[in-house]
Every structure is written in C-alpha cells, then in structure tokens.
C-alpha cells in the first residue's frame, strides 16, 4: 500500500514540475527584454526535461522508500495552520497576540505528554516569557517596527 502511495506522490510532483516549467516558458513570452528571457527559458527547459525523466522512471521503477510516513496528521496541520492564521491576523490584532496564536498552536500540537498542572503553568509561562523577550529585543533593541 505504502509503495503505491509513495510512488504516486513522486509522479504527481514530477508532473507538477513539468507544469511549472511550462508556466515559466509561457511567462517568458511576455518579456520585452531578451536579456531577461534567456536564463528562465534555459532553466525551465532543463526542469521540464528532468521532470519528464523522473516521471518516466517513476512509472518504470517505483521506489518504495518514499511517502508521508507515520505520524499525526492533525498535529502537522495544527502547527502550519495556526502559524498561517497568526500571519493573516497580525495586521488586525498586533504582533504579540498573533504570536500567541502561533505559539499556542505549536505548543498544543507538539505536546505529546499528559498535561499536569505543573507543566501547564511552566510551559505556558515560559512561552509568555520567551515571546515577551523576543518582542522586546526586536522592537526596542533592533528597532524592528513590529505591528
């Protein structure tokens, strides 16, 4: 089962890279300056050729060592989605609040042990300290205009 899964992914990605190469070739037709065309066209051609080779060899010789492997999907999703959410929310709720969303998402998705009252206080507390410290260093020492 996993063999098929892994190989299918490789084929889909190879096809994606072929598509990406074609998109690049299409985009270059709109350039006014020939100096901007030569490099992307060459590289896109190389990309398409190798991706086709990868696609064909993936069909002929399926590799079995690839695939998403085991592991919890909701945790992966929770991590990435909360971080993205934090970015989209940042202009409205400010940097610290958005950072807290991302931090909470990461903390919950990375927490594999059981929660005990001690850990609860310690982890969330240290999280708050870490965020405050970074925020202070960036905002006031490095003068980054954080929203």
């Amino acid at each position: 089962m996993r063999t098929v899964h892994g190989n299918l992914g490789s084929l889909v990605l190879s096809a994606f890279f072929v598509f990406a190469g074609i998109m690049v070739l299409y985009d270059t037709t709109g350039y006014s300056d020939s100096d901007s065309k030569v490099f992307p066209q060459t590289v896109a051609t190389v990309l398409i050729v190798f991706s086709v080779i990868a696609f064909v060899s993936g069909l002929l010789r399926p590799l079995d060592e690839e695939g998403f492997g085991n592991g919890s999907w909701w945790r992966r999703f929770a991590l990435v989605v909360t971080m993205l959410l934090a970015c989209f929310a940042m202009p409205y709720i400010g940097f610290l609040a958005a950072g807290a969303i991302a931090f909470a998402g990461g903390l919950i998705s990375a927490m594999h042990d059981h929660w005990t009252p001690g850990k609860l206080v310690l982890y969330w507390g240290s999280g708050a300290v870490i965020m405050a410290a970074f925020y202070a260093v960036f905002k006031f020492a490095l003068l980054v205009p954080l929203p």
Partner: protein, 317 residues
C-alpha cells in the same frame, strides 16, 4: 484643463494651510528611515551622512534600515500602507519611481508617492580606468564611431539613470556603444577596474570614491563639480546633457500636511548645514533643494523628461 486648475488651487490652499499649521506637528521618538535598497549604494551613503546631523539638530535618532527588493519597488509599494505619523520615512529615487510604474503594475504609482524633499543628485558621468587610452570624451567617441558596438560600457541595471544616459548620449553623439548592466554601481565599477569593460556610465560619486584609479571624461552638470575642477561638463563639449539620479525622501500618503511641511523644513535645515554640504560634495554628490512646496512642479518636469527618454529608448511600449 479645468481639472488642472482645480488641482493647482487645492495645492495652493494646502501650502497656505501648512505654513499656518506647522507648529502642530512634531517628532516624538526615533524615526525609521527605510532605504528600499541594500547597503553600500548612493542612497545608503547619503542617508548615513544625514544621520548624525539629524540627531544633532532635532535630538532624535534616525534609524536607517534596508528593505531591498524589486529595484526598490518592494519598499515603495508598501510606503503608503505605513503609519503616517511622521515617525517613518522612506528614501525615493528618480528615475526609478517614474520608470517602474510606467513599465508595469508594481503596486504603486508615481503620483501616489508622497515626496517631500529631493536633497541631492548624482550627476551622470563617463568614467574610464586611469590607464585607459581614452584621454578625452572625443577619444571615446572616435573609437565608438570607428568600431560600432565594440565599446562596452558598464552601468547599474537597465532602465536606470545610467542606461537612459547611455541611450541619450549615443543618440546625441551618433555613436553605437554596448551597455552592460550590472547589479548596482559597485559591481559596475568593479567591472571597469577589472578591465572587463572599456568605460562606465557612472556618477561623480565614482570619481570621488576611486580617486586616482579612474578618470572621468565628462559630467552631466550645468557647471563643473567643485571636487573635479578639471573634468569638463557635457555642455562644454557640445552635448546638452544635464541630469543623473535624483534622491529624496517621502512620507506615507496618510501623513498630514503639517507633518509633511515639518519634514521638509527639517531635511532642508540639514541640507543647509555647511558641514553636511561639504561632506556630500566630498563624496561626489551634487546638492539639490526641492522642498515640499516645489515638489509638484519638479516631479512634473522630471516625469515628462524621463518618460520621453524611456520611450525614445524603447524601454516603454
């Protein structure tokens, strides 16, 4: 026509209003001065030269930060989204902010940039290595006429001040030279010093920085640069070329008229400082004083000039 009249009267009213309200705006903390390029270029150097004078005169820190990307376009596209309370300003460059929006949709428009002061420009200049066979501009012209296309000249980027100058000069002198674009003035100078190209379209700043290692053949100024009394202007040699890359500062569009006037006054005051002027001249820059009131007329003239040049050069459709 009617629209222009209305615009003019609005502008006039704004100017009257600003002078009346100047006292209300003030700077309350460190100012973020964003340079939409990487460090080391003319924009950076001139901002760094302003830094200590600003602190001296107005007591606040001027914090220079770099936001490179898209030949400056990334920074300018974000400018009007920034806070207009006067605590954030951004360096602007001509011809960039005129040519870029005319070429493609880059996320900002020339009119949308709230420029309040143009404080210097770097005059175009043709630079050759000290051991170059070109002793004068005429030598270069003769060679370019005898061997069309074989005279390679480096410069910073395409559709840039250097590139426009090359095209304009080729047309005036009836020569054919080959322009080789590099990433920034530093790389263009390196190529010149390394003998990769025969000459460079640069600025007077190159002559100031490289000293005896290079020789300038002509500068695009009305009169000779005080640092280089021996280098003729293009005008003296019969070519009507005056110009270069202009640099100034802008505020986000949301800034109040008072803030704009305050900033114009502050940068004007730094520009008037003899010590600052001397440092700028020593660096090869040429001073310019276009304040908030004169900006509209100045920009209008430059837009016409650059767009005509770019269209003639085939850089715009």
């Amino acid at each position: 026509m009617l629209r222009r009249t209305i615009l003019k009267s609005v502008a006039a009213a704004a100017i009257v209003a600003t002078t009346a309200l100047t006292a209300n705006a003030e700077i309350t903390g460190p100012v973020s001065y964003i340079i939409p390029f990487g460090p080391g270029g003319e924009s950076d150097i001139s901002a760094r030269l302003q830094q200590p004078f600003f602190k001296d005169k107005f007591g606040q820190e001027l914090v220079v930060s770099y936001q490179p990307g898209g030949g400056g376009a990334v920074g300018w596209a974000t400018l009007n989204g920034l806070n207009g309370d006067g605590q954030t300003i951004m360096g602007i460059n001509l011809p960039h902010i005129i040519i870029q929006p005319a070429q493609k949709d880059v996320g900002y428009t020339t009119e949308g940039v709230n420029a309040f002061y143009m404080f210097h420009f770097t005059p175009d200049a043709i630079v050759v290595k000290a051991d170059s066979p070109y002793q004068s501009l005429q030598d270069l012209i003769d060679d370019a006429k005898a061997n069309p296309g074989a005279v390679t000249m480096s410069g910073s980027g395409k559709a840039s001040a250097n590139h426009l100058a090359q095209i304009k000069f080729d047309k005036m002198a009836g020569t054919t030279t080959t322009y080789v674009p590099f990433k920034g003035t530093g790389a263009a100078v390196t190529a010149l010093l390394g003998g990769q190209v025969k000459a460079e379209w640069g600025y007077t700043t190159v002559g100031a920085k490289q000293g005896d290692a290079v020789r300038m053949l002509a500068v695009a100024m009305e009169e000779r640069h005080p640092l280089f009394p021996d280098v003729p202007t293009f005008k003296e040699l019969g070519f009507d070329m005056v110009g270069g890359a202009y640099r100034g500062i802008a505020l986000p569009a949301s800034a109040s008229a008072e803030t704009r006037q305050l900033w114009s006054d502050m940068i004007g005051e730094i520009n008037a400082d003899p010590e600052f002027r001397q440092k700028m001249l020593d660096g090869g820059f040429a001073m310019l004083d276009v304040d908030a009131a004169g900006m509209e007329a100045f920009m209008k003239a430059r837009v016409e000039e650059y767009l005509a040049d770019a269209r003639e050069a085939g850089l715009l459709q």
